[in-house]
Amino acid sequence: MRVNFTVNGREQRADDVWEGESLLYVLRERLGLPGSKNACEQGECGSCTVRLDGVPVCSCLVAAGQVEGREVLTVEGLAEYAGNRAAGGGASVPGAATGEAGAGAARPGTAPHPGGSGELSPVQQAFIDAGAVQCGFCTPGLLVAADELLERVPSPSDADIREALSGNLCRCTGYEKILDAVRLAAARQEETV
């Protein structure tokens, strides 16, 4: 079957999608967006976390056909999305605020591919600065989940952070640096407001 949906603010079409296929598979194998990771395919690890109409979900548990006509934000679109949000472009629906034309105008030369530009979002920068990335396999899912938390709760408590990241497993870091990274991103966000 064919599935039409919006990924990181751009219209996408996937063809020859098997009816039992997951959104994760479509993103990685059909749209060339390997940022969302496949580690368990059963909702346990959160490494495949994306936002579906703004809501964090495990893309491995969303059937491809269920995203027809809907908006998906992946880690590849996070920098641009966070940039638009900071610029006051509205944040409730990923990508919806600017659309392709607006995003292209803001960053000339961006390829019309939803694969991102190489710039980093504040939460990505904080993960690097705090040393929260080791093998990196869990990182994309954590970034999407952490960014959504900071959008929803600008000044999160430690309990808020732990809860928001409770669906994301990391086998390397022991989590402390990850918590630090989110605290750092929150602190920087407060400074700039």
Binding site: G20, Q42, G43, T49, P56, C58, V62, A63, Q66, E68
Partner: protein, 296 residues
């Protein structure tokens, strides 16, 4: 495989009538795991995501009509006062990502003895509204679970909503597991005080082939509270009454040994949860007369 995407409830019922083997998919948090692991290859997937009314709820005089696909996150955020037991139970399900997708309709569809909504629904009192092209009926929650992962739905029926009694007193839910997130209950217990009718109701999860009520324990406690005039006086419950209630609750279990725990441990843990929850809810009843919210 075919992917059916009805835009309306009527279309969904027609599709299910035409293809009774079609597997409905709501949040997909049970269905997709089975498909990803090749445990299930349905001929048809019937997507319910486009049917808006399944994600809506209505707070009525005596009940909340909860659409089958209302995600757990919404229940936690919006229905804590009306459905405290279910709101607490919802918060214990998996992780934020799963709670953003999964809901009570899917929990009932799967009908796992470990489903966290079940003890809360049994304790609160609820009816499942099932509908097909033949018409609509309400299945009392006590009659809904018919076996391990089996329920009372006919092949052409879909769950439209669950009618859950609004809390008229304190409610609790707890489960035993190794961490706070992402835990399939080793066993679970739910308790609701119903001061309006001077009754208590319970629900037990993961300790029998289906979710069950601890009926003998309920009857014992109802009689003991009545005889002792506890509802009027709001006196502290005598420890011997609480202990007997806990023992009888454990007696309602019919557990198995498995990787998550032994039958003996499950019985013990259910007794502990029953005793503690009676303490918590009764304190709340005494403290605020008729408190409406759960505590945890």
């Amino acid at each position: 495989m075919d992917f059916l995407r009805p835009a309306t409830w009527e279309e969904a019922l027609a599709a299910k009538a035409e293809h009774p083997t079609a597997v409905p998919i709501a949040g997909g948090t049970d269905v997709m795991v089975e498909i990803n692991f090749d445990h299930r290859r349905p001929e048809y997937l019937l997507d319910l995501n486009r049917i808006g009314e399944l994600s809506a709820w209505t707070v009525g005089e005596e009940t909340v009509e909860l659409g089958a696909s209302v995600p757990y996150t919404r229940i936690m955020e919006h229905l804590r006062a009306e459905l405290p037991g279910l709101a607490i139970a919802s918060h214990t399900v998996a992780s934020p990502q799963i709670r953003n997708r999964g809901g009570v309709g899917g929990n009932l569809g799967t009908a796992s003895p470990a489903g966290d909504a079940h003890p809360a629904l049994l304790a609160a009192g609820a009816e499942v509204e099932a509908e097909s092209v033949r018409g609509s009926r309400r299945i009392p929650i006590d009659a809904f679970y018919t076996g391990v992962k089996r329920n009372a739905l006919a092949a052409d029926e879909l769950i439209r909503s669950v009618h859950i009694k609004k809390a008229d007193g304190p409610q609790q839910f707890s489960k035993v597991g190794t961490r706070n997130a992402m835990v399939i209950a080793v066993c679970a217990f739910g308790l609701a005080l119903h001061p309006a009718t001077r009754t208590v109701r319970t629900g037990i999860g993961s300790a029998a082939p289906t979710p069950v009520r601890a009926r003998v324990a309920e009857e014992f406690l109802n009689a003991a509270l009545e005889e002792g005039g506890f509802w009027e006086s709001g006196r502290i419950i005598t420890p011997s009454i609480a202990r007997e209630f806990a023992t009888l609750a454990a007696g309602a279990c019919n557990p198995i040994d498995d990787v998550r725990g032994t039958a003996r441990y499950r019985r013990h843990a259910v007794a502990v949860m029953a005793r503690r929850q009676l303490g918590w809810t009764w304190e709340q009843y005494r403290g605020t007369g008729r408190a409406m919210e759960g505590a945890a």
